[in-house]
């Protein structure tokens, strides 16, 4: 894994961006981290549902809601979360949702989801739109139950999109982005389309017959925008934030830059760190991260996976979190230091040690042919916390560097 390549020209007053890392968020929030890092959008914090409930949205201009489990997101946010989110947008906040984060604000009659009925639109990938014979075509793997219907998925990986509303990539309206279960929407008065499904590429993987895939997607809406009060919702079926799609990344980044400053919050102007965070903190961090990484690497060779919530987790996913940190560690180690209180430092190191401990126990239990499901559940929760704590420091250091360079 190479070092993470950062932006050469970070903006001086970037919007304050919150990334949702709470219940239901899968690892794809880390894609947002990469994107923001690459674009020098360094005023970033990480927010979970509990923090939303106590007002965390007050401190940000925009919120990134990534892929994962929409139901879990809706359930954990509840009515109060919904109210806070709505207020945030109406007061000028920017909501960016991809995949699960895109389903969340769509009209729905399902429990919990019905608290987020902000965009009146129908999706085209729902079973009520299929004939009886077509329903039968769906393998079990291509659908998610949705009340007495099911949401189905026709293709994965690359889809070809046509941008609308002036959005372009390198002067072209055609752009490719990957689809992993995100919605396809029917045109609606309630929103403005910004991207339409136009076709496939040789990298598209069809989950059903190509003609049915085409019927489901072609001409329907892949991404859209809706004004709500003083703010906007932008929702994306495909993952415009996926790190391997720089053109789609660019479109998303420009939207964040343009629309993400309506709340007139002040950019974070970090004071120079009062005392340089001791080298020993980062050394300790490296030591423990290395310990975790090597056990995680070993687990990748074992025939295990875990069902957490309603999603399968593979051992490789552990290292997805750890590598995102590892690739940024040299930067912090060689930098000017950041302000982290001794208590926070201690807490962070302890949680990382706990991560290593959990991983080692999982390895032992697996060797003894014992179940590791419960341990895995704890582990992934912990990993989110460990990763977002570390990345908070990382972005703070980046921001400090930008401000200092431009002063």
């Amino acid at each position: 894994m190479k070092e993470f390549p950062s932006s050469p020209n970070p903006p001086l007053s970037p919007p304050k961006i919150g990334i949702f890392v709470g219940a239901g968020a899968s690892h794809s929030w880390l894609w947002f981290v990469d994107l923001l890092d690459q674009w020098g959008l360094n005023d970033v914090r990480f927010i979970n549902e509990k923090e939303i409930l106590i007002g965390a949205l007050e401190g940000v201009d925009s919120l990134m809601m990534s892929g994962g489990d929409t139901f879990a997101m809706a359930r954990s946010l509840g009515a109060e979360g919904s109210r806070r989110l709505k207020h945030f947008i109406e007061e000028g906040g920017l909501y960016i949702g991809t995949c699960a984060g895109a389903y969340l604000p769509l009209r729905s009659s399902m429990a919990f989801l019905n608290q987020f009925n902000w965009i009146n639109v129908k999706i085209s990938n729902i079973s009520r739109r299929l004939s009886e014979s077509e329903r039968g075509l769906f393998q079990e793997h291509a659908c998610t139950p949705y009340g007495c219907e099911f949401v189905y998925h026709v293709a994965r990986e690359d889809v070809l999109l046509e941008m609308e509303g002036g959005h372009q990539a390198n002067g072209s309206k055609k752009v490719i982005a990957p689809l992993y279960g995100g919605p396809s929407m029917l045109p609606s008065e309630d929103m403005q389309a910004i991207a339409t499904y136009r076709g496939f590429t040789e990298k598209t993987k069809f989950l059903v017959r190509e003609d049915l895939a085409e019927k489901t997607l072609h001409g329907n809406i892949a991404a859209s925008r809706k004004r709500m009060g003083k703010g906007y919702l932008y929702i994306f079926g495909p993952h415009f934030e996926h790190p391997n799609y720089p053109e789609a990344n660019g479109i998303l980044a420009r939207i964040i830059l343009r629309e993400g400053k309506n709340r007139a919050t002040r950019s974070f102007r970090p004071e120079p760190p009062s005392s340089k965070t001791g080298q020993s903190f980062f050394e300790e961090w490296r030591r423990e991260l290395s310990h975790s990484r090597m056990v995680a690497f070993g687990l990748e060779m074992l025939p295990i996976r875990w069902m957490i919530g309603n999603k399968w987790y593979e051992p490789e996913k552990i290292r997805v979190f750890l590598e995102a940190l590892w690739r940024r560690l040299n930067y912090l180690e060689s930098g000017e230091g950041v302000d982290v209180t001794p208590e926070d430092q201690k807490g962070m190191i302890n949680r990382l040690k706990e991560t290593t401990g959990l991983l080692r126990t999982m390895k032992k239990e697996h060797d003894r042919a014992q179940s590791t499901n419960g341990l895995a559940e704890d582990l992934f929760l912990l990993l989110k916390k460990v990763a977002s704590d570390f990345l908070t420091i990382y972005f703070r250091a980046k921001r400090t560097e930008t401000v200092r360079a431009q002063a």
Binding site: K2, S290, H291, M294, V295, F297, G298, L359
Partner: protein, 439 residues
């Protein structure tokens, strides 16, 4: 240093438990290239403190064919000469990725310790749990506690702990090419083991050029006269001692050291049917033979292949050099398995063929399979061998494979060095380094 390196040297003081990290000085690499060139220099620098230097070769752990070698450079506790012991299997490679190119271990620990080196961190750990354990159990214990079975452990057993002249630094469970009694040195320092693990990335100055050249080199070597031959018994046959039939019935498989085209190691099954392909139900069904001389030593005593291998296994557990065990027992007239097993604590006395060279005689003293155009009267062989070993220990090439591959010429190695590091290396520099090492 930017390329083919972790750019880090650790200076470990066992006496004070202080560890200092230094950058690998590019000027040092320009002057000494790598491997033994640099370890000798570091040895000189710290020689007052009786140092053990662990070092990687310039190409160790890369796609250069046979780039398996790292080394221990230290003073032979018996002769007082500075010499190099080879670290092969996966240990040489692992060291390269551990985050340090060189590790200087000086001083003496007040109580048993082990050094844990991983991803650019070097830590001294208390070894009270493993001191006194045999090599196998100590390795298992470290791996279990860290939760990682890929950790490479350079460790000593009873022999090294108790100051036997033939205490060997073993690799995980197996014998190494340490013929110098470096195990005794470890023991004297109360250093039970050095555990290595690393997951770093080595950058290359000219990646495509370098890899292309590696590919061409492999293509040139892999169809050499050794092609189709495998394992420890073929080595011995080539040395004029044909034990192929003797060993054959217990052979399970032949294994290569990292990226080495000829598998110089043979796994024999002792408590399991050698033809058994599935994972054995037994935890310790056999032994990996890594040293042809140890095997030949027991063979010459008239032992069966099964008994010889079982003895090799016992030697490795105790961390004692099997070559010495075989030679000295034979001299003492002991040829019975059980007698020999009990003798480990008592083997003493000078060995007949104590090498005067700085490189381990673990690598046979002549070309293997290949023709290096040496004069048939053998007058050039000794000097050729020394020079060939020097190349291997500078660049990190498997020292036995270096004897099989005339295609790995000095010019080629220099060319690769420049492509890999972006630094200009001339034949004059190489000449100088070889001269220094052989001094």
């Amino acid at each position: 240093m930017e390329y083919l390196t972790s750019n880090k040297v650790a200076i470990v003081d066992l006496g004070t438990s202080k560890i200092v990290h230094e950058k690998l000085d590019e000027a040092l690499v320009r002057e000494k290239i790598g491997g033994a060139g640099v370890t000798c220099e570091l040895y000189e620098k710290y020689k007052e403190e009786d140092p053990i230097i662990l070092g990687t070769g310039l190409f160790t752990g890369t796609l250069v064919p046979a780039s398996a070698l790292s080394m221990i450079t230290a003073k032979n506790p018996s002769t007082g000469k500075v010499c190099h012991a080879p670290l092969t299997l996966y240990a040489g490679m692992e060291m390269k990725y551990s985050g340090f190119d060189y590790i200087v271990i000086k001083g003496k620990a007040p109580k048993p310790m082990y050094l844990w080196v991983h991803d650019g961190i070097a830590d001294i750990h208390d070894a009270k749990e493993i001191w006194g354990k045999n090599v196998w159990d100590a390795t298992d214990s470290i791996r279990d506690s860290m939760g990682d079975a890929l950790i490479q452990v350079l460790g000593i057993g009873k022999a090294g702990e108790s100051g036997s002249d033939f205490g060997q630094v073993c690799i995980n469970y197996w014998a190494s090419g340490d013929r110098w009694g470096f195990g005794k040195l470890f023991g004297r320092k109360k250093l039970k083991s050095v555990a290595l693990r690393g997951m770093s990335l080595l950058e290359i100055a000219d990646p495509e050029g370098f890899v292309q050249a590696c590919k061409e080199l492999l293509l040139a070597v892999k169809n050499g006269p050794f092609a189709g031959k495998q394992g420890i018994a073929e080595l011995s046959a080539e040395m004029g001692e044909d034990i192929r039939k003797w060993l054959e019935p217990i052979i399970h498989r032949h294994l290569s050291c990292f990226n080495t085209p000829f598998p110089t190691n043979t796994f024999v099954f002792l408590d399991e049917d050698p033809k058994h392909l599935k994972e054995s139900e037994k935890n310790e069904p056999g032994f990996l033979i890594t040293d042809v001389y140890g095997l030949l030593g027991f063979n010459k005593m008239g032992l069966s292949a099964q008994d010889s291998s079982a003895l090799l296994r016992e030697c490795a557990r105790a961390g004692i050099d099997a070559v010495a065990v075989a030679e000295l027992n034979q001299k003492a007239g002991m040829t019975q398995l059980e007698e020999i097993k009990r003798s480990f604590g008592d083997v003493k006395g000078p060995l007949e063929h104590l090498s005067k060279e700085p490189f381990s005689p673990w690598a046979p003293p002549a070309p293997m399979f290949a023709d290096f155009a040496l004069s048939p009267d053998g007058s050039q062989t000794a000097d050729w061998w020394k020079r060939r070993q020097a190349m291997a220990y500078i660049f990190g090439i498997h020292p036995i494979f270096a004897l099989m591959s005339p295609e790995l010429t000095e010019e080629k190695l220099l060319e690769l060095a420049t492509m890999g590091t972006g630094l200009e290396f001339t034949p004059e520099t190489l000449e100088q380094v070889v001269g220094d090492i052989l001094k």
